[in-house]
């Protein structure tokens, strides 16, 4: 027994020594410095959708300004707003803009800074069909209300000449977790269908009339991929990265548009003139021939009064960098850039942060 006890002691000590070596080594290596005493650390929380691009931005910003560490975590748009209002984070992030009620709870005025654009696309899995499908708003509403139940329904066939749609049951998939993606999707459906607006409405989480709930974009993608006859809605970025088929949607100008980065930026640009000062706007069902109808901004939520002078400067510097250099990096990760007019107005808004 003594031998084994000694052995276990050696094992434990070895693990401890190894762990210390690892920590020591990584703190020394230039790729992963442990923060120096004068490091400025900021924390932000919010939407999941822009997490990849935000983490890239903050990492690149840290490479340029090595004493600045901006830590962002995705806990959901609603979570981000709540944390911002409770004061546990320095900034928030949200896909849907804050409502008047939420802004009323804030101690100081909150500014919305659009950062990137995203799109929501209808993805499907129909055995035997490899062509791209075209969806009208009425069809999407009908499917998600549970009225259209088979793929070879006349309404779907109307806009898909030449496609041999099978008599397969439609399995509807939606999000189970509250999300900005659901908000955009239901916002669009509410705009194009008064019936949807009154029966279901728009929110990050709604009472879906039919369908299975997948957790996260990943969950919806997974369910759609595996279930024959399924249809779901996901962020464009997921569809592109996972190479799943997604359909065209008819926009307000009557054109069937397949979501791509340019079409999304066009949707935002078509609202540029009518955009309110605080940038809180929904850009679904945008006018314009090239606009993709199910698109949205995502926002950084910055308080106007920041007491800590160094943090204030960091945020201002970051926003300036983000609007200029940061925008160059977004398309590589399948996000859409902000239109020029919006960028110009945001740069002006930075001066409001005191």
């Amino acid at each position: 027994m003594k031998k084994l006890s000694i052995l276990s002691m050696i094992l434990l000590s070895a693990t401890f020594v190894l762990a210390s070596l690892v920590a020591f080594h990584s703190s020394r290596s230039s790729a992963t410095p442990i923060p120096a005493p004068d490091t400025i650390m900021l924390n932000g929380a919010g939407a999941t959708f822009p997490y990849p691009i935000y983490s890239k931005w903050f990492s690149d910003f840290n490479k340029i300004h090595s004493g600045i560490e901006i830590n962002y975590q995705s806990i959901g748009s609603g979570g981000g707003i709540r944390q911002l209002l409770s004061g546990t984070v320095d900034f928030g992030a949200s896909d849907p803009p804050m409502t008047d009620e939420q802004l009323g709870h804030a101690k100081t005025k909150i500014l919305h800074f659009p950062t990137v654009l995203g799109a929501v696309v209808p993805t499907y899995n129909i055995p035997g069909i490899s062509q791209e499908l075209s969806f009208t708003p009425e069809v999407l509403v009908g499917i998600y209300l549970g009225r259209i139940t088979k793929w070879n329904d006349a309404e779907i066939a109307k806009s898909n000449n030449g496609v041999n749609l099978p008599a397969q049951d439609i399995v509807v998939v939606h999000r189970s977790d509250g999300s900005g993606t659901s908000y955009v999707w239901t916002d669009y459906l509410s705009k194009v269908s008064p019936e949807w607006q009154s029966k279901v409405g728009r929110n990050t989480s709604v009472n879906w009339p039919v369908g299975l709930g997948g957790k996260g974009n990943e969950g919806v993608t997974g369910l759609v991929k595996q279930t024959p006859g399924a249809i779901g809605y996901v962020e464009l970025i997921y569809a592109v990265q996972n190479q799943i088929p997604y359909g065209r949607v008819r926009n307000a100008a009557g054109v069937f548009v397949k979501a791509d980065l340019a079409g999304v930026t066009a949707a935002a640009a078509s609202f540029a003139k009518t955009m309110p000062e605080d940038f809180r706007i929904s850009i679904t069902n945008a006018p314009g021939k090239a606009a993709y109808p199910i698109a949205s901004f995502t926002y950084l939520l910055i308080p106007t009064k920041i007491e800590d002078a160094s943090k204030r400067q960091v945020i201002k510097d970051f926003l300036t960098w983000m609007l200029n250099d940061g925008q160059k990096e977004v398309e590589a990760l399948s996000y859409s850039r902000l239109p020029k007019e919006v960028v110009a107005r945001e740069l002006k808004q930075i001066s409001q942060i005191q």
Binding site: M1, L4, S5, L7, S8, M9, L11, L12, T15, A19, V22, A23, H25, S26, S27, S29, A31, T32, P33, I34, P35, M41, N43, A45, T48, Y51, P52, S55, K56, F58, S59, D60, N62, E69, N71, Y72, Q73, S74, I75, S86, G87, T88, V89, K215, G216, N217, E218, G219, E235, I237, Y238, V240, Q241, N242, A332, L333
Partner: protein
Amino acid sequence: MPWRDIWRKFVNYFMFSLTGICALVTVGVLFFILGYLVWNGGSSLSWAFLTHLPTPVGEPGGGMANAIVGSAKLLLLASLIGIPIGFLGGVYLAEFGGRSFPFVVRYTADLLNGVPSIVMGIFAYTIVVLPMKHFSAFAGGLALGVMMIPIAVRSTEEALRTVPLMLREGALALGASKWKTIATVVVPAARKGIVTGIILDIARVAGETAPLLFTAFSNRFWSPGWNQPTASLPVMVFTYAISPYEDWHRQAWAAGLVLLTLVLVANVAAKLSVSGRSAR
């Protein structure tokens, strides 16, 4: 009568084969999970993975060093809170208690175990994070530690109960006081069972994600001390697994593998340190 004996023999072999199948099924599932983790995440495991900070998508050389250290810190604090309190509570229930108070405590411990981990996280958030006005490793460790207490209490109590009355009586008859009996006779006799319970406890808490999201938050950078948000392996697994990027998926599997390895090491160390003769 021989017919009856043949039947009894048959039942004997049959039932034991059945139990063997049960054991094989369970072990088989674990090997399957391990195999899946290794298959999908093994390619992402590297020295860089263990020592570097996370990098943005598409940049090679990213790692989870801060998450590994973070998980270790959180589990350390959780153990410091959960194990002593849980252990001593279990001692009370097994050695000191009367009828009604232990019943209530046991009942309540089972209730607490059933609270969803996210509710525990929200609870820790309201009593630690909100007053402190920021997320911290301390809050995360506290949430996990509180989750550990009920399991530790119950498993310690059950382990102590397996020690035969004779041992206690023998010690008392030799003039030892009650606490001395417990400390020097009963607990050492039950140490294997106690350690098993604690290991299970740590293992369960090591894989928890939901409570950490609202307490320790997470961190892309190093987290010095206890007062800053810290990354942790389960949260990284969660964040990466729900992302759209294949590279991050592989890293998520690799992180799961690292987590299991950490628990395995702790398990081995703990089991070895209490090996030897015990009550059985």
